[in-house]
Symmetry: D2
Subunit: 410 residues, 4 copies
């Protein structure tokens, strides 16, 4: 059995675990070291460090201080790996902690981060998803059961100082273009809630002041939230510092393309079983800027889809120029409207799109002025038939359960 | 055998075929009528009406007058179908014309329409793809052979006057925001090259002056360029006029998600075998605004992918806010760079992304400020191994053949 | 477009077409010649040469003289190919003749060949299947529609004299163990109905007297009836004579594993588009005795199955020793019994197993004394849900249509 | 988290665990009880109860007393379930014991059970397979790594006295036809090594004397060794006694169709997470004799196969009549011969066929006198290309490692 190099105790604060961090900075010391070819296991908190609870209130989703995320396990140093190499990571398996066989999905309040459809769902909402082996169901979203496409939402290597500087420059530059926007355009460094792993004292404070937030995906990978980076996949990461410094967290039991609900997929605490290898000078050899990967042979094989189209004309009828975001939003809204015909609330439909193995394709991006995006719902996850019939839809969801909602506090 | 209701003669000008049209307008008379439940075949020109030739020059791609496209076969009237219904179309089969077993892919000059990567490929280029039963190869792009995901790029029903008006208003509105842009933001009605089918004389001229161009996808479907709308799929179209008025054209032997090369997929002349049915009042029953569809059980089963990530920081390092277009462009550029390591020219790599059954996923759209898009290349279409190896890539493409290029005329 | 090297006129007797033959013999002259690398098309009769008709009687299935089958197109000579080589055949596409968009499935009378379940279905029966592009339906078997896994049931190269001798020796040897069995154990050479292609006169008569019948699969491939040898697949055939002598016929629009109904799959007249290449001395290099092949990327992707088990205890409760045939027969009978609960007649259920893309797996062959075989029915081919429900099956097939039946003639 | 109702301690003899048994008999008391709808976990020994070790000798495979197998966990009683019902079992997940991340594959000596190819592999051999998350590799069989299709080889409900009597009658009847055969035709009841769970004393001895051996699959399912009965699948079992009495064991990390090596798949100790429900009177409602099941959406998606054909002419050239066993044996031998061309020993090739997710299809069973069986090897499990090339195979396996072998003891 592979050794567990990082353990997390869900009853303990993530801030007290020095093998965990929540910012990107080259000075964060390695939490542990391995050799190329090694197999090992890292346990992780959920991305909020346990803030969101398995209960019947969305208050925690409303009240969370998002500056604390994401709690990552690592960095893992790999001996002999140098900047310019590719770190080859086999995600041999990913799972939930045995004592924590559930996850959460939520929508943030528009006042606290929002989400892809925040104008339509402006309040904090939450659903809890129970795991049944390879499957999941939710007491808040009846009528669906699906196999998990389990994956880490966030994984990548430490930046070097130059790359870190680039990130901070360009993101603070963006913020300055509309500094008071709600939700904000980006998140600047924020020392107060930083957790720099083993780096403490003055050095820790200095690094905290400039450590990049973990929210966006960047050149190193990071918070890509790619559902297909699942257990069984093989990822090639760019390396910027000696030892690579691989960190991972934000595990998802399942997610739809786009992670449109932002809070987010089916979020869980768990563990990642991985193996690392190296391709020397791989970045130059293969011209790599961002990570590349091979997906897993072990993924849910749902293949009967109902596909919704959206074009880049927004909800108000305004014409946008080849804007895939607008087009995908329309496809999502079209799918939500459709699912309500079977009895789902709009929030339940939104939760399904955020959690199930839904595909989002960039179908057309050149036919001026409209992009076309498609959203693919696997029909086999429903315990009734959602396909169109000559005599119209039958209402299968009769109400009762719904996604939890908490009003904003004035 | 199903009857062929519309025939096209590739030796004849598309303008001479009164069962063909190249604008959307409610007054275009039905080219033919069928009953619900009927099966029939429509032949189609390629989208340019035969302008692009199977030869060794890209001059035709450079010189084409794009106001002539797309030449559609139809409209087909379906008896008893009313506005508000859903027209259920089974795409029973799609194929190339027996006498025309080839297609073309090209990049337009930036001065004549451009494409998704026009800043990187500003000149007219062309590759010819030969069909070998279910497979295709190109003498201009060696080392790849793949099975076609054959589909119509363009299909949909006639708009009613109100919808037509909406389209023209919003698109001309967009054009006015930057009327001299090259390439333009959108295409306004343009009577000079309009072909209104059986509608001729004064009525034809009036309709031509306001007929919507066929370039963008819109509420009715239209030029969606969705590769998965392939033979074997079932599509549910909104209906706006009595008889529906279904038209189809722009057939593709294969295409990657996004149709990024714009000219376009592997474009071909061919035929569509289809069956129509109706769901009465289906638009309201199912809350349908845009078409929805079920994909085909007969699609290439390539499932070993190499996946490239892109984020919404552009080639110049500029930070964009959750912009999927920018992210997908980076994923495409990353993939092109990678493929050059095996000996491909950048144009050949671009052509592969535009023609092969490449997937483009909207992987993350909420992690401010970066969207994450992924581009999936099926490794099984290459006759060598494109996966990363410890000792780096081997050059398999040794030059000689390349995508044709024509310089702009001053 | 590839040239059509062999044409068949369905209005003409197959015996009058000298590019057709119905026996295997090394002396049959090549019907035409091609070069390695060539692409070409061969048209074929259905296996009976048109004896079975698209009508409402099974008399033709009852009355057919099976000594006339199979009418094959070929042999095609490939220049430079020698005994010991492997002939690499790409089945680029396969289709029905445009003027003959239908096929038949039948069960032979036990007195005229029988079938896998002949003791349960001892009389001649027939169903007609209409083709709708990539799909098929039958007026005699309602409630199912499926995409075709189109393939030649019979394809292979000419034997050399030694191999022919081996075949005749071992098969006539088997016949002698029970010469009067009905149906027979094997079919010996039979000159009266032989068609030796271009070989006529005395030489033709001599060859006819020893030409091997085409019914069984043998070392060269031949009548393998492997549904997965479908369009898009690549096959490596052993070569025994100069020029290889490739013949093909017995096209199937679709078939279940085992071709259990014997008459057979959905049998049709059609065409095969293929390309040939050679691996010199490939038989020795790869240790090849029987053909090997790579399946197609273009196959129906039905993946939701209901799987039936059978063990090697027969219908009478008799224990057999690890006998897969008995086990598979039980799995078939279990599936037939199950389908009757939804209203199908037993003959309709049998026809579905023979025609649809049903899988038959050898699941266990070592657990003495019982083999276990499984039969996989794709649930997505039915227009109702065949999966077990808590409250039992609903009868969806209300009678009316049934598989045609003709009583034996005394 | 679901409760673990049966625990096994790998350091303890299976005979000492009263929730384990190794014979089928209606009098075995329930090991524990659950309600319909319950989820729970059962741990299991490997089928030999730990006799086979992770070491470098095949002596244990040679010396094992096969009368001790299989050690099953159960029976689990389900409250309210009656004879004639269907017990619906969701195999929610299956895994190896965390402390035992390895499995074994072996061939029994012909003197001790043999296997499908025992005439070709008459001696005891063994390979050890290590688990790496979802993947496995063997130090004895280099060059292959594959994802596991994890499943219980043996699962089913207790027989009633009548069914037990039927089993014993028909199997002892078979044995009597050749009582001295090596290996035997079947295994009669054998009290000396029976473990009857909680049933001890005189009652236990009486039951042991007539308890059915667990080796063959039977009407209730039992030792079906169906690789597709994997985690994520849903199985419908016939019920014969009050409470059903479900037992499970013989877990496999992976297996090829047929489990041709007999000892067997990749055998392991582990756990099964399951949920039970009931369809009242389901056996009659659906006409069920043997179990039926729906396969899992979570299975390895390898889809690039090399397929080997075999016909029912045996290794000595003898003609058999439509014998699928003979045909499948030839397909296996053809595949083994082929794999040796890349450097594998014959034993390594045999081990791959027994362990990897290889498919075995009953391709043709009616074309007298030859059956055709096909064996499908997934090419993607090899770390080199096994497909035929124009210039012949390259030897990738250079020797050194091999499957362990132990000579028979005189």
């Amino acid at each position: 059995m592979a050794d567990t190099l990082i353990k997390v105790d869900l009853a303990q604060s993530a801030y007290e675990n020095e093998q965990v961090h929540n910012r990107w900075h080259p000075d964060i010391p390695m939490a542990c070291w391995v050799n190329p070819g090694d197999e090992f296991i890292l346990e992780t908190y959920d991305w909020t460090g346990g803030f969101i609870k398995n209960n019947e209130s969305a208050d925690d989703v409303r009240d969370i201080d998002l500056s604390i995320v994401h709690f990552l396990s690592g960095p893992v140093g790999v001996r002999g790996v140098k900047p310019g190499d590719l770190l080859v990571v086999d995600l041999l398996d990913v799972g939930a902690k045995p004592e924590s066989q559930w996850g959460f999905n939520g929508f943030f309040s528009k006042q606290n981060g929002g989400g892809f459809l925040t104008d339509h769902f402006p309040l904090a909402q939450k659903s809890i998803w129970d795991f049944h082996g390879v499957y999941t169901t939710s007491r808040h979203v009846p009528g669906v059961e699906f196999a998990g496409l389990i994956h880490p939402g966030l994984i990548g290597c430490l930046p070097d100082p130059k790359l870190l500087h680039t990130w901070n420059e360009r993101e603070t530059g963006l913020i300055k273009t509309d500094p008071n926007r709600v939700p904000p355009l980006a998140n600047p460094p924020f020392a107060a809630t930083a957790h720099m792993g083993k780096l403490v004292g003055d050095a820790g404070r200095r690094a905290a002041a400039e450590g990049a937030r973990t929210v966006p995906p960047r050149e190193h990978g990071g918070n890509c939230d790619i559902k297909d980076l699942s257990r069984g996949s093989k990822v090639y990461f760019p390396v910027y510092v000696d030892g690579a410094g691989l960190s991972v967290g934000d595990l998802h039991f399942s997610q739809g393309d786009g992670e449109i609900t932002f809070c987010g997929a089916i979020e869980m605490a768990g563990w990642v079983h991985m193996r690392v290898n190296v391709i020397k000078d791989g970045m130059a050899k293969y011209g790599i800027k961002n990570p590349i990967f091979k997906p897993s042979p072990i993924t849910p094989t749902y293949n009967d889809y109902l596909i919704f189209e959206g074009i880049s004309v927004d909800e108000q009828g305004k014409q946008h120029y080849l804007d895939v975001n607008v087009a995908y939003r329309q496809a999502c809204l079209n799918a939500i409207e459709y699912l309500t015909k079977f009895g789902y609330s709009r929030a339940q439909a939104y939760a399904i799109l955020g959690t199930a193995p839904v595909q989002g394709h960039i179908s057309g991006v050149v036919d001026i002025p409209n992009s076309c995006a498609t959203l693919w719902i696997p029909t086999q996850i429903f315990d009734f038939d959602i396909r169109p019939q000559a005599n119209g839809p039958t209402v299968h969801i009769k109400g009762g359960a719904d996604v939890l909602l908490s009003q904003d506090v004035a």
